[in-house]
Symmetry: C2
């Protein structure tokens, strides 16, 4: 019997644990779910004969060693900062590890040791990062193998609300960690456009959007997603002229969100004086100039150069930012206050479904012509537990664990799913779970020597 | 004979050392100037019989102890981060210390120990901070003692070029550390306006200016200078409704500088890819959108919504940012590249003079009427060595050292020059050096209960 240890039984682990339990009998697995709340772990196991729920404390070194040493593969769904501790123990004990998080320097440094021990530390095995790598590399390798040369690569992803439950003026709801949405894009974003590196400071990010139509889901907008340049190395896109990663929202979202950014309300670097006893209205007013006898709404209308009945003012007003409601948060940053305000507003209801959209665009040269492939995935949630986010993050991780235990993944050391050995079988099985890409191809024109 | 130890013989120490040497004979002082370049220290002493030049290395603990223990007062003109080391030795050896820098937490923590030893650690004794405290407190105390209640306090300072040498489109030249000018205002600025705390994010700072006329020096503009709120405690301004600190520039400076801020060119948090082999033109282009066949200047004109022959485009063009000149800096941040570009352009020529302007505005209630006092200082440099900056930073420090050695300053512990015991005699003597404030008073109107 092979043992799988899942560390962390939070929302994002639901679909993954279900997959493992569903496949446990035929593969002769035992699925051990360990969490700081044993109760939560038990809930995820739901009395399955192949499952076991345990208490886990990542800071308990002896427990870490004991648990990890006794299994065949570890799946860490802990907060990303703890993966390093788990990975070190995995290497020491000679046990494989899989995570859905971005590879860290701490984990990178374990590569040689892991290879020596015959251990695989497989990272970025979720949706973004994860499915993005696999689905892109599948097309990139195919183009290359047929002799094509990739000139442009653009890839965008968005966690959104399903159209049938899209009923607020922002056309957006939280489907993942709200904090990450509030502080999204802080720092500089960079990408490659027609051979030139472009830098966008945070305060310009949400005004640099592009509009696209995606399949028959209608219109969306895309804003740049941090450092696109690193994908040149990861995907080995040497001759690429344009390299862009983006975040997908419904049209109008970015322009309205930009109001908060411009005012300084997404800043997480300082504390608002006496935030506890302030109202949201006072909070908003502290970012706008003092104007004698001018109501806040009027100042805002002037600030954003829009009319009172404009779409943008409707979005802003809908958040409740003008309300005389107490904030009640001690020593809070602007970002924390804003998150507190919108968290209940953008909450996905229990009967509502989320939707994840991912779209890649490849432009490549082949035989003196230029062609474009668009490859698009749309996944909707099944239930409040098995959301699109939980499915797309968890199923790839679970499939990778299965393939590894079946000895069908041979690579070792610190890896991303950009190797065919990993992405090919995973992508094939993902289709069974409704995670599939639709391709649209068109001729762009005669290739021009540049 | 009393011994004064000056640590650091850089540009900012010139006027201070001259004052000390000029007063050494009559006061029976020995002035020891110690620097990591003994040659520089010797140059400042210039063979004066009362002076002595020594080599100094702040990291040499034994040397630090030996030098400090052998004198009566230490003036530290070292970079601010080293003051803590010096202060600790001063307290241990029972020696007074004076600096022109902002008080640090490290120094604050020495207060009790210093009092026990009868030691004065006098900080913020330069111009800004320094003369700002003293000149403000002089008026604040006077208003209070006459029964007035201060309602508004605004205080602004600018290091500028003297009008007779003001010959570039920015009406600005570097008179102090260029790096501090390039990254000025980063983070959030906050102030109090009519009872409301206002926050301004960095990307809005240079568009939130006010215009003022100062004496007969013409028109200036003022932008907010970081955290004004802390002056409420420092000056004990309990009932104040408006509290604002600002930086003074000539009109048009902020609007043009804001172009660099908006583009992201003042960012010091990341490195520009291949900065060494780039031109300034390519650097500028990396912050503007790709537009087929559109020259950079045209893109900039569109970006700033101004015409090609506008004042703002003239300022931008004059910096050389559009030139095909190599940057030649390895792994440089945008702020470093921008500083490199303008450092030679904004250099004060050897025959040119700088000018420091400081203006306080007090609005106070007295006898049911509201009055306003404006108190203004303008100081011009004497020479390339004795700049306005060197004079206004150095002379207050030197006077404080004299008063201390003459036993006319009685306070001990960690102090700022906000106590009458310090500011009164210093301000009186500063007038002999042309550092004086001109007051304009006017009636604002009947006071209204708020």
């Amino acid at each position: 019997m092979k043992k799988i240890l899942v560390l962390g039984a939070g929302l994002s682990a639901s679909s993954m644990i279900k997959y493992l339990l569903d496949h446990a009998e035929q593969n002769n697995w035992k699925v051990i779910v360990a969490d700081q709340s044993k109760e939560l772990a038990e809930k995820k196991i739901a009395g399955h004969s192949r499952g076991e729920a345990l208490y886990f404390d990542v800071f308990d070194e002896a427990l870490r060693r004991e648990l990890i040493s006794s299994v065949h593969v570890v799946i860490s769904m802990l907060p990303a900062r703890f993966h390093g501790l788990v990975a070190e123990q995995c290497v020491e004990s000679g046990i494989h590890m899989i995570t859905a998080s971005y590879i860290s320097d701490q984990i990178k440094a374990l590569d040689e040791q892991a290879r020596e021990k015959g251990v695989l530390l497989l990272n970025e095995m979720g949706v973004d990062p994860g499915i993005d790598h696999m689905s892109a590399m599948q097309v990139i390798d195919r183009i290359r193998n047929s002799g094509g040369q990739i000139k442009e690569f653009e890839s965008s992803t968005g966690g959104l609300v399903a159209p049938e439950h899209d009923n607020n003026p922002w056309n957006y709801k939280f489907t993942w960690n709200p904090r990450n949405v509030v502080i999204a894009g802080q720092g500089v974003s960079r990408f490659l456009h027609n051979g030139q590196v472009k830098y966008i400071p945070y305060h310009k990010l949400f005004s640099r959007t592009e509009t696209v139509d995606i399949l028959d889901y209608g219109r969306f907008e895309i804003y740049p997603n941090r450092d696109s340049l690193k994908y040149k190395d990861i995907y080995k896109l040497d001759g690429v002229k344009t390299l862009f990663r983006g975040t997908i929202r419904r049209p109008g979202y970015s322009k309205a969100w930009d109001v908060f950014v411009q005012l300084g309300m997404t800043d997480d670097s300082f504390v608002i004086a006496d935030s506890e006893h302030m109202t949201y209205r006072e909070f908003a007013n502290s970012f706008l100039e003092y104007r004698k006898n001018m109501p806040l709404e009027k100042k805002m209308v002037e600030y954003i150069h829009a009319s009172e009945d404009s779409d943008i003012m409707q979005k802003i007003t809908w958040t409740g930012i003008f309300e005389r409601k107490a904030i009640g948060l001690k020593r809070a940053s602007p970002a924390q206050i804003l998150q507190n305000l919108i968290e209940s507003k953008w909450k996905l209801g229990s009967e509502e479904r989320d939707m994840i959209i991912m779209q890649h665009k490849f432009v490549y040269e082949f035989d003196d012509t230029e062609k474009e492939i668009k490859s698009t995935m749309v996944v909707k949630g099944d239930s409040q537990v098995h959301t699109a986010m939980s499915i797309t993050v968890g199923i790839p991780v679970a499939i990778a664990a299965k393939l590894l235990l079946q000895d069908r993944i041979k690579v070792r050391g610190v890896q991303l799913p950009v190797v065919k050995d990993v992405y090919e079988p995973v992508m094939e099985e993902l289709a069974d779970y409704g995670i599939r890409f639709i391709e649209e191809e068109r001729l762009v024109g005669e290739a021009v020597e540049s």
